[in-house]
């Protein structure tokens, strides 16, 4: 697609641990590394609690990561001072899941965007602000602009509000946006509209996106590459179509099998999983986190953490039972 080779974000060994009772730690994000090129959309797919939201908040420094580096155009965000970070925020933005909650209910559409302009002192006078707001509302498809100018969130639909979120972020001209489940709370009929807007923004402004979702189908629709997350780790990463057509990790396979299809003639699906009810890992340390549910698990899976194995160009998965290794272990 339109992804170039200019690196926008480089994440290395990102970790976020939360202390639990009795000295235990919850490794919400555990050793995650990836790159994003300019204009690229990378999807992170996983179930609730897999750490995808914690990861995105760590990247944007909304919470402080426990370890690792986040390089944005070569500068490590974890070492920036608070004022530096606030300036840098212009370039890295986020779109939230809940359209009704993420916009202050006490501000109208134009006030919402004006507030952002004020924070970063983007315009010098009100006329200029009005012009910027008008343009951005047109760009995100909230036309005629006069209709929406003075509307309050309570008077708008989820799809429209998500466009306002988009507009408020785009006035800052960021080069990279994290979209955290941007359509999961929207009605089916307006989802594609918002996703199309996302794609259009990428085309127009060469913005890179991290698209966080639990939904493989919408991820397929917008992503160039996708990463499958399981309990704080990436288990498989690669080009979106490649992952869907040729999944390698047992968890990816289970996830794909689980997705219901809008096709009444489909056969019933058996899940390739060992334990049907438990989603909680028994192996805390050392082993593959998917081991307790994996139908193909071997001794080694319980003892050590699998490294990534390259499957094809840009496609790799973290499992002992893949590629060359399969022969040596099995």
């Amino acid at each position: 697609m339109s992804a170039s080779n200019e690196l926008v974000l480089k994440v290395r060994n990102l970790k976020k641990y939360f202390p639990l009772k009795k000295g235990q730690v919850l490794k919400a994000v555990d050793d995650i590394s990836f790159d994003i090129n300019k204009g690229e959309i990378l999807g992170f797919v996983g179930e609730s609690g897999c750490g995808k939201s914690t990861m995105s908040r760590s990247i944007l420094q909304l919470i402080k990561p426990t370890g690792g580096k986040i390089l944005h155009h070569g500068d490590d965000l974890t070492t920036l001072t608070a004022p530096e970070l606030r300036k840098r925020r212009r370039e890295m933005q986020m779109i939230f899941q809940d359209p009704f909650g993420s916009i202050n209910p006490r501000r109208s559409v134009s006030e919402t965007i004006r507030m952002v302009l004020a924070i970063h002192k983007i315009c010098t006078n009100r006329e200029e602000e009005d012009k910027v707001i008008t343009n951005i509302l047109k760009e995100v498809g909230l036309t005629p602009v006069e209709t929406y100018w003075d509307k309050y969130p309570a008077m708008m639909s989820g799809g429209q509000l998500q466009r306002v979120s988009m507009a408020r972020v785009l006035v800052l001209q960021p080069d990279f946006i994290i979209a955290d489940e941007p359509v999961s709370m929207l009605d089916v009929s307006v989802r594609i509209g918002v996703l199309d807007l996302l794609l259009k923004m990428r085309e127009l402004h060469d913005i890179s996106f991290i698209y966080i979702t639990h939904d493989l189908a919408t991820a397929r629709y917008v992503c160039d590459r996708m990463a499958i997350m399981y309990m704080g780790r990436i288990v498989e990463i690669g080009p979106a179509e490649e992952i869907l057509q040729n999944p390698q990790h047992p968890y990816t396979k289970a996830l794909i099998a689980a997705v219901p299809e809008p096709n009444p003639e489909d056969d019933d699906v058996e899940l390739p999983l060992k334990d049907s009810t438990s989603g909680v890992s028994g192996t805390e340390e050392g082993g593959c986190r998917f081991f307790p549910r994996c139908p193909y698990g071997k001794d080694i899976c319980e003892k050590s953490v699998p490294d990534f194995t390259n499957i094809a160009e840009n496609h790799k998965a973290a499992c002992f039972l893949l590629g060359d290794k399969v022969k040596t272990i099995v």
């Binding site: 609730s48 609690g49 989603g279 909680v280």
Partner: protein, 328 residues
């Protein structure tokens, strides 16, 4: 319920207790004006006498030293000498405690039982005529200070109808013993108890009602209805139990607030308990006694709060088992 839970609550209570002793010390010493001067407002008292008093009460020493000797005495159970009664404060107070307990215990039991019942009915019949009637009455009751109830009750039932005595705890010099004495005390207690009940019941109804309404809006009530559970059973089995839980906590929080009602009622009816003692101490500017009373009230509140926490832990399975919901 884990031992951890109890220990944690106990430590918190002890810390509060310690802080209260400090406040109790500080209020009387850091306040504007000279404590001894304030105790003896009579201008005829000579400077020398005041100086003597100051030495006697250890007020000439530096603050830190005063605090340590105060704490030392406190640990020994020594609360100082009451100016007014010329007796050790702890003795004066000890004599009053059972009478206050009798009065407050009786009124509290009546108020809680009646209040819960009426509040539950109001909440259950939310929006109906019964509800608004109970609510209007309880709002009114809640708004009337306990002393105002006391005065009105006294005017009506003691002065004009003369059914009940004007005040005190027993008929003076009656020489009653045993059952007759008990009946006499009960007779004296009716009006003060009633004024506390009236005052407290309003609050309790309001709290119970809102707790009830909150519970009734929960999805599990809908689940029970869709199971075809009888309305009566939804009330008793599903709603009341859950409505009681916050009620227990709120009762705990309210204990600090409740001390007010006792002082007011005991003052109006001259019930010789802690509340009346507190009032007399204020009137007589008897600071050691005032300090002692305040400490006792504070300790009582802490102890009761601790008890309430323990009860809560026993009743709520979420605390009892101490588990965390399994992850999805």
């Amino acid at each position: 319920m884990g031992i951890n839970y109890i220990v944690k609550k106990l430590i918190a209570s002890l810390l509060t207790l310690f802080a209260i002793t400090f406040v109790n010390f500080a209020i009387f010493r850091l306040a504007p004006g000279d404590p001894v001067r304030m105790m003896f407002r009579d201008p005829r008292i000579s400077i020398e006498t005041i100086e003597k008093m100051r030495v006697e009460y250890g007020l000439d020493k530096p603050m830190v030293g005063q605090y340590f000797s105060y704490m030392k005495n406190l640990c020994k159970g020594d609360l100082g000498i009451s100016f007014w009664q010329k007796k050790p404060v702890e003795e004066v107070i000890a004599e009053r405690i059972p009478r206050t307990l009798l009065l407050i215990g009786t009124s509290l039991i009546i108020a809680v039982i009646l209040g819960t019942l009426l509040g539950a009915i109001a909440g259950w019949k939310g929006g109906s005529k019964t509800d608004s009637a109970i609510m209007s009455i309880s709002m009114t009751l809640y708004s009337v200070p306990s002393f105002a109830f006391g005065i009105l009750l006294m005017l009506a039932f003691a002065y004009h109808l003369a059914i009940f005595p004007l005040g005190g705890i027993e008929t003076p010099a009656s020489g009653y013993h045993g059952f007759r004495k008990a009946m006499d005390v009960a007779h004296h207690m009716v009006l003060p108890a009633f004024s506390i009940v009236l005052w407290y019941i309003g609050q309790y109804i309001i709290i119970t009602r809102s707790s009830m309404k909150e519970v009734l809006s929960q999805p599990y009530i809908m689940t029970a209805r869709s199971k075809g559970v009888r309305e009566k059973k939804i009330l008793t089995r599903h709603a009341l139990r859950n409505a009681f839980l916050p009620l227990i906590t709120i009762t705990g929080v309210n204990i600090a607030f409740m001390t007010g009602g006792i002082i007011e009622a005991e003052t109006v009816f001259s019930w010789p308990g802690l509340g009346r003692l507190f009032y007399d101490a204020v009137m007589k500017r008897d600071y050691p006694l005032l300090q002692g009373c305040f400490l006792v009230f504070s300790v009582a509140v802490i102890v009761l709060n601790f008890v309430v926490d323990i009860i809560y832990g026993k009743v709520d399975p979420r605390v009892k088992i101490g588990g965390k919901a399994a992850d999805a």
